[in-house]
């Protein structure tokens, strides 16, 4: 076994550190070393996007990144969306528009759509669909996820954050 390295990162605004073998996948580091289980694993071939987190401002599939690569990085997970105890407009949107069923893909979807709205605050339906094309959902057929993002986009434009 390769020796463990100390990995320090800022996750959801908090400095955290833990030791990890170099081969430890970031998703396992987040879920098991840091205990943030909102980020999920849905496949083993980097297809499903359930493990999507935001690393240094960009969405990545945390099952396809080694934890050592995130050493020193700023990482955001679904647990970081809540602001001062209030739901983010995207979280509200997913609930209001029935953008989730089993909830397993939802954290990854939230991360991808969060990044999308950062980059493009008023995306068209097509841009939303392409924006979540790295996230699979088996329940919703995506239509209400699109609506959820539109809900959030509108709310954010009205100053909701």
């Amino acid at each position: 076994m390769a020796k463990k390295e100390l990995i320090k990162l800022k996750i959801n605004g908090k400095e955290r550190e833990a030791a990890a073998e170099p081969r430890l996948l970031l998703v396992h580091f987040i879920r098991e070393a840091l205990g943030l289980t909102g980020t999920h694993v849905g496949c083993d071939t980097s297809n499903c996007g359930a493990c999507t987190v935001i690393m240094n401002g960009k969405t990545v599939k945390s099952c396809t990144v080694f934890a050592v690569q995130a050493d020193g990085a700023e990482v955001m997970t679904v647990e970081g969306l809540l602001q001062n105890g209030a739901l983010h407009p995207l979280q509200e949107g997913f609930k209001e528009e029935h953008g989730l069923q089993c909830g397993f893909c939802t954290p990854g979807m939230l991360m991808s759509t969060y990044a999308l709205l950062q980059k493009n605050p008023q995306p068209s339906e097509e841009q939303i669909r392409w924006g979540i094309s790295g996230n699979l959902c088996r329940c919703t057929g995506y239509q209400n996820i699109v609506k959820a993002v539109q809900f959030a986009s509108k709310k954010m434009a009205q100053g909701g954050k």
Partner: protein, 783 residues
């Protein structure tokens, strides 16, 4: 039904889901989120071969990996009589292989280590020596004299599992002999997989001190699983607690018991430690319950005007290495005999033969009430072929043969009594919504220009909600379901059911049923499922049975509570029970509405001011045995455009008109339809678990088992008609599966329609661009 206020949010309100708060904050609790002190990890060693003799297993190198605690083989399990386990279909299945392996990815050994990385490393070092055997892949060859014998453990020395038939063969044959027109289609419903986004897994925790086994399990049927563990493992049932935590989608995949669960339990019993086993996606696709794999032939006898006279169906069912179908005992081919569909066939005969092949075992009911999807697909395809043979509009043909609304309850020639339906109404709404006549004109014009456009219709009938108990059981356990409601002193409630949500929104919809029946606001009703220590026994959630069974039980339990509430209200108001009237949330004195007691006041009195002669408390349990199944239906219309150069198919529009009786939560119903249509779309165009000649699984990862993204997925348009079920307590049917059952035929019919003028009558799913291109090339259209 009286509509309640938004505050109460009973039936018909699009209440936002109660369960969402935790999911949108990353606070769901799925099985892989369970983390116990001292927990260790299991990893399965699987066979690379589809059929091979097991010569030896050497675990020496694997045991040397730091952190490895145990390696369990089939021989180890055999000592405890656990090498095999019963399936849900009166067959048995190897837990870990002994003697030989029968499919690629079959479970061979189970490695337990302190962390999942060490377990994976050790699993790779388990040395297994195999001697390859001839492989049987094609089910059509399973009964050949020279076919390799797969199941040496059986008394019958062949690969035949069952023959099942229903209907009047002689009368049907006679009708065919006399018929003016006979149409025929051979249609494959290909092997596919439910692939919920969360794979299967468990955490088994045996406490040696208390002798209690707790298993967190991805289970759609936790109570049945507890009983199976008790029967198979010899553990007293009271010492087993199954907890189905949040489930990341099921779709039928999480009904069976899988070898990994058994191994984790055995490892925990042996080590006295909690053992987690979570399968990978590839393991999920390659080894757990596949669906379909029905090789079907349908023939329709009709007169020249298109009135159908008889339906004859013959089917070969490929079950893989073990018959691990999850279905009611008396129905080896599930409810496939719903294959007469929405049409009034005077006669029908249907037969199914099941065979073994060297493939993963199954097949389970994937978002489907036991082979209904196959049946609906077959009849809707066959009706289109008949229409084409007769040069009739498929809409006209369907209308001519629909079971008329006046004839319900309708007894089908294959023995079902359809509870209610108005097929013409659903068809009309779908046609009006999509603008059928204009589309026909457009198609005619496009054909003149050489452009390919197709319209596909599917007017399906579903059959969901098993029981009744006199006909339906699984492993002898009757298919009732249950609900228990307790009203707290402050008028809030908790209810528990024998079902288990996997995303369907039970925490909201069951609460709405209670709200409707008792007037307690749905937000004040906590719904809990999945813990066998607390919930009443039930058969679980699949086959669209939650609303028809536990939903009904919830209403019945609520009505029992209401009867007691009436007694308490009469006492409190000092009138007789007959003088009371109910409106949602309160009893009042007839003619004096201000003299009233709310359900909350009544609940408080049930604990604080108990009427003489009554027990304290306000609670009820109901075990509901449905008198019949329910028969949801609908008409779906797909419009497709075909790219002649590449064979790509674009679904331009899709209208789904569903009728599931009275609706609890329209928002949730629509969400179910969107999801089911998307799965049907994937099945029609993208998905197949195939095998090569050597039995190597193709499409065993998400690289090749294609799940559509938001980009490919069409925009769905929905509509509804409402024909209540006459026997269900609040007139509901089921909805979760209709879109998956009804849509594949609409898609396929649309593509075939686009090519029908070229003489194309049928294309097997999945209809990929290359299949279309090959046809176009053959017809000289492209290339």
């Amino acid at each position: 039904m009286q509509k309640t206020s938004a505050e109460i949010s009973g039936m018909g309100h699009s209440m936002k889901r109660k369960e969402d708060s935790r999911f949108i904050q990353g606070k769901g609790n799925y099985v892989d989120d369970v983390n116990l002190p001292g927990m260790v990890y299991g990893h399965m060693v699987r066979s690379p071969y589809a059929h091979a003799r097991l010569k030896s297993i050497n675990t020496d190198a694997a045991k040397k990996v730091p952190g490895v605690l145990a390696i369990i083989t089939g021989e180890d399990l055999a000592k405890a009589n656990l090498a095999w386990m019963p399936t849900l279909s009166n067959d048995k299945q190897m837990v870990l292989a002994t003697g030989k392996v029968l499919f690629q990815a079959q479970e061979v050994a189970f490695v337990v280590a302190e962390d999942r990385y060490a377990a994976a490393d050790a699993a790779e070092l388990v040395e297994v020596e195999y001697e390859e055997l001839p492989v049987l892949v094609d089910p059509h060859k399973a009964m050949d004299a020279d076919a390799p014998l797969l199941r040496e453990d059986r008394t019958e020395k062949n690969n035949h599992i069952f023959h099942w038939e229903v209907g009047d063969k002689a009368a049907t044959d006679k009708a065919f002999k006399e018929a003016a027109v006979v149409s025929k289609v051979n249609a494959l419903s290909p092997r596919c997989h439910p692939a919920p986004l969360e794979t299967c897994g468990c955490v088994a925790d045996f406490n040696k001190a208390t002798e209690k086994l707790t298993v967190w399990l991805t289970s759609q049927a936790p109570h049945v699983h507890r009983t199976v563990f008790a029967l198979v493992g010899g553990i007293p049932e009271q010492n087993i607690r199954i907890i189905s935590p949040d489930i990341g989608g099921g779709f039928g995949n999480k009904v069976p018991v899988y070898p990994g669960y058994v191994c984790a339990v055995v490892a925990s019993l042996t080590l006295g430690l909690p053992v987690k086993w979570i399968e990978t996606r590839s393991e999920n696709l390659q080894s757990t319950g596949f669906a379909r794999d029905y090789h079907m032939t349908a023939e329709i006898a009709a007169d020249k005007e298109g009135k159908v006279k008889a339906l004859r169906v013959k089917t070969l069912a490929d079950h893989g290495a073990f018959n691990a179908a999850a279905q009611p005992t008396k129905f080896p081919a599930g409810l496939f005999s719903i294959c007469t569909g929405s049409y009034e066939f005077p006669q029908s005969f249907c037969e199914v033969d099941g065979v073994y092949t060297n493939k993963a075992p199954g097949g389970i009911a994937y978002r489907c009430s036991f082979r209904v999807t196959e049946a609906a697909y077959l009849i809707e395809r066959a009706m289109d072929v008949l229409a084409d043979d007769l040069k009739m509009d498929p809409v006209e043909l369907r209308k001519k043969n629909f079971v008329p609304a006046a004839k319900f309850p309708y007894k089908s020639p294959l023995g079902w009594t359809y509870d209610s339906g108005d097929y013409h109404a659903a068809m009309k709404l779908a046609l009006d919504t999509i603008g059928y006549d204009a589309l026909l004109k457009e198609q005619a014009e496009k054909r003149k220009k050489g452009e390919l456009m197709g319209i596909g219709i599917s007017s399906f009938t579903e059959i969901v909600g098993a029981g009744p108990a006199h006909t339906f059981d699984i492993l002898g356990i009757k298919m009732f379901d249950s609900a228990e409601i307790r009203i707290h002193p402050t008028g809030k409630a908790i209810c528990r059911m024998g079902t288990k949500s996997q995303g369907q929104g039970h925490e909201t919809t069951y609460a709405q049923i209670v709200a409707q029946e008792l007037g307690i606001p749905a937000k004040d009703v906590q719904v809990e499922e999945g813990d066998t220590d607390t919930a009443p026994y039930g058969l679980g959630t699949y086959a669209s049975r939650s609303t028809p069974t536990s939903g009904a039980a919830t209403a019945m339990a609520a009505r029992k509570i209401k009867e007691k509430a009436r007694k308490i209200a009469a006492f409190l108001l000092e009138v007789s029970e007959q003088d009371l009237e109910w409106e949602p949330g309160k009893f009042f004195v007839k003619g004096a509405p201000s003299k009233a007691k709310t359900i909350q006041e009544i609940a408080f009195a049930a604990y604080t001011n108990i009427p003489p002669g009554l027990e304290a408390g306000l609670e009820a349990v109901d075990y509901y045995d449905p008198p019949n199944l329910t028969f949801p239906f609908g008409t779906y219309i797909a419009v497709v455009d075909i790219d002649k150069g590449t064979g790509e198919i674009k679904v331009r529009r899709f209208v789904a008109v569903d009728d599931c009786g009275n609706i609890i939560n329209p928002m949730i119903v629509e969400g179910q339809i969107h999801g089911g249509l998307t799965e049907g779309f994937a099945i029609a165009f993208m998905q197949e678990i195939g095998y090569d000649e050597s039995g190597n699984v193709q499409g065993g990862t998400f690289m090749d088992y294609l799940i559509p993204t938001a980009v490919e997925t069409p925009h769905w348009e929905t509509g509804k008609t409402t024909t209540p079920s006459p026997h269900h307590p609040f007139g509901a049917k089921g909805i979760g599966e209709s879109p998956n059952v009804g849509s594949p035929a609409a898609f396929v019919n649309a593509v075939v329609d686009a090519l029908s003028h070229l003489g194309v009558k049928h294309i097997d799913m999945p209809i990929t661009p290359w299949k279309v291109w090959n046809i176009l090339k053959e017809k000289g259209i492209t290339g």
